[in-house]
């Protein structure tokens, strides 16, 4: 078990709107969200002694800039000891929080800037986006030659899950509707118009049973957060958000090699995170669950112990995850409504959890929220990452 519980805090966040912004350079998002996070934390920029940029996938050249400290130069940071990229695809946020937290806990760093920016919405053509995600993280010898891509990956998982649990397409689709209810209240989300189950079910079939409106939309976006010690956080803000528990399980690289594509590693990862936090699912006020496709939100909620196996779809359909529901879930609208920014999907949901626990979520603020569970996963759902955050130490 980690020794981070109660010792590490997130003290500032920043985010630019997600969507299609052809005129906004990728570095614009990076700098703007970082400046917001530094201001939100109430620190001087030169107190940042470590920068952790997330990897980006739309451009290898841009990613090389991030690896070679361009963020440090753009922000004029004069006392940075290390610029160290941490990249685990969609699970990068969890890895970055663990790395940044560990650097602070060990004394290697005091104030760590974690930042992500991506230009998948306007940095690539539509077919180039499809083709990129027919290769990214998919085995080039054993899966690519058979036409595997992310729609089929979601299709394979959803088909088997439906077969084992009897869950209906309508129940699975309810995740999209729930996410949209939240996105309607989120000014940074790409899609904010109300969405119905019927509308999703009428959309074009891509790879059975996945339809166009079960899919996320590639987008431009950026966000940032600042990590420091719990002790330092007390000087900076009245609303530090503490890391209370962490768990993770890496299960596979190629989806075809995973023995149970209806569960993955969420049960074990959540058990570790809850044990460290000394909490259980019933203590959690908000579930910030990584989606990218609806089935992954259902599987994560079930495996983590929030709802019985096979009942997750109904849980969404009955509105129990909506604003005002018993378990507010994915309150930024998820990647299906906020937009898919590569490694930023998990990043956005982590920033949203912090925003809620700081009480800064405005129209979608969950009243009196104390504890949130946050998930992330990378690539072809290769891992299950769970973080428990709180605005008090459990």
């Amino acid at each position: 078990m980690s020794r981070l519980k109660g010792n590490i805090a997130v003290v500032g966040i920043g985010e630019v709107p997600t969507g299609r912004y052809p005129e906004r350079d990728c570095m614009d998002g990076c700098v703007t969200s970082a400046v917001q996070a530094i201001a939100d934390a109430g620190i001087d920029k030169n107190e940042i002694d470590c920068v952790v940029p997330c990897g980006t996938v739309f451009s290898g050249a841009y990613n090389s800039d991030l690896v070679t400290s361009r963020v440090v130069e753009e922000l004029g940071l004069s006392r940075v000891h290390n610029n160290v990229q941490v990249f685990s695809g969609g699970a990068s946020s969890a890895s970055m929080l663990k790395v940044a937290g560990s650097l602070v806990q060990s004394g290697m760093a005091r104030h760590v800037l974690c930042v992500h920016s991506e230009k998948l919405g306007t940095g690539l053509s539509g077919q180039a986006g499809i083709d990129l995600f027919a290769l990214a993280g998919i085995h080039r010898e054993w899966e690519v030659p058979f036409g595997q891509h992310y729609s089929t990956i979601a299709g394979l998982v959803t088909t088997r899950y439906k077969y084992e649990t009897g869950t209906t397409d309508e129940q699975i689709t309810a995740v999209q509707v729930s996410n949209r209810k939240w996105a309607e209240l989120n000014p940074n989300a790409m899609f904010r118009k109300p969405l119905t189950v019927e509308e999703v079910m009428k959309s074009k079939m891509l790879a059975t049973p996945i339809r166009a409106k079960h899919s996320n939309m590639l987008a431009d976006g950026a966000a940032a957060f600042i990590v420091t010690s719990a002790e330092r956080a007390k000087d900076l803000t009245e609303t530090p958000v503490y890391v209370l528990g962490s768990g993770g399980r890496v299960t596979h690289h190629s989806l075809s090699q995973e023995a149970d594509i209806t569960r993955f590693g969420y049960a074990e990862a959540a058990a570790d995170a809850f044990e460290e936090a000394g909490l259980s699912p019933k203590d959690i006020d908000i579930a910030e669950i990584y989606d990218s496709y609806p089935i992954f939100e259902i599987i994560a909620l079930e495996e983590m112990g929030f709802v019985e196996r096979g009942k997750g779809g109904a849980f969404f359909l009955e509105g129990r995850t909506w604003p005002g529901g018993e378990l507010p879930t994915t309150t930024n609208g998820g990647m299906s409504s906020q937009g898919h920014t590569g490694g930023g999907g998990g990043f956005a949901i982590l920033v949203e959890a912090v925003r809620q626990l700081m009480g800064k979520a405005e129209k979608r603020q969950v009243p009196d929220a104390r504890f949130a569970a946050v998930t992330a996963t990378g690539g072809t759902y290769v891992d299950a990452q769970v973080e428990i955050l709180g605005n008090e130490i459990s």
């Binding site: 083709d131 054993w142 595997q148």
Partner: protein, 141 residues
């Protein structure tokens, strides 16, 4: 963007050193899987070392070519460029009798008749320079 209506070909497997014997055998309509002589594990896809015991004493066995569909998805729209001409096509994870899983395509049947746990058997198809092991519904006895 090209003006041509020509669609790109299906991507060919990027053959690894340890995978080469598999592809060569597939050309002769044989489905090979690796077998660890040290710990008796059946292995697919081919590995550099046994993923169970890390020994190098790996040889090949011919699989029966029979298995069941663990899961599947029928691609109808928005395929990767190399597969646009193949739509509709079926991607499936097949569980072989030998206990290993592989990704493949289901062919020679109406996609609407496919279901999870359906018995299938291997069939070999040439795609460019390669012969790919694909699967079709197993013949009724």
């Amino acid at each position: 963007m090209t003006q041509s209506d020509e669609k790109p070909n299906r991507p060919e497997p990027e053959v690894s050193r340890v995978g080469a014997p598999f592809w060569e055998a597939a050309g002769n309509k044989k489905l090979l899987i690796q077998h660890c002589k040290a710990c008796n594990e059946n292995i697919f896809y081919p590995r550099i070392r046994c993923p169970k015991c890390h020994r190098e004493e790996l040889d090949w066995i011919e699989a029966s070519g029979k298995g069941v569909i663990y899961s599947y998805s029928v691609v109808l729209n928005n395929a990767p460029s190399g597969f646009l001409a193949d739509m509709p096509y079926v991607v499936a994870i097949v569980r072989l009798e030998e206990g290993v899983q592989m990704l493949s395509n289901i062919v020679d049947c109406d996609p609407d008749t496919i279901h999870c746990d359906m018995p299938v058997e291997v069939v070999f198809r040439e795609v460019g320079k390669f012969t790919l092991p694909l699967f079709r519904p197993a013949e009724q006895i």
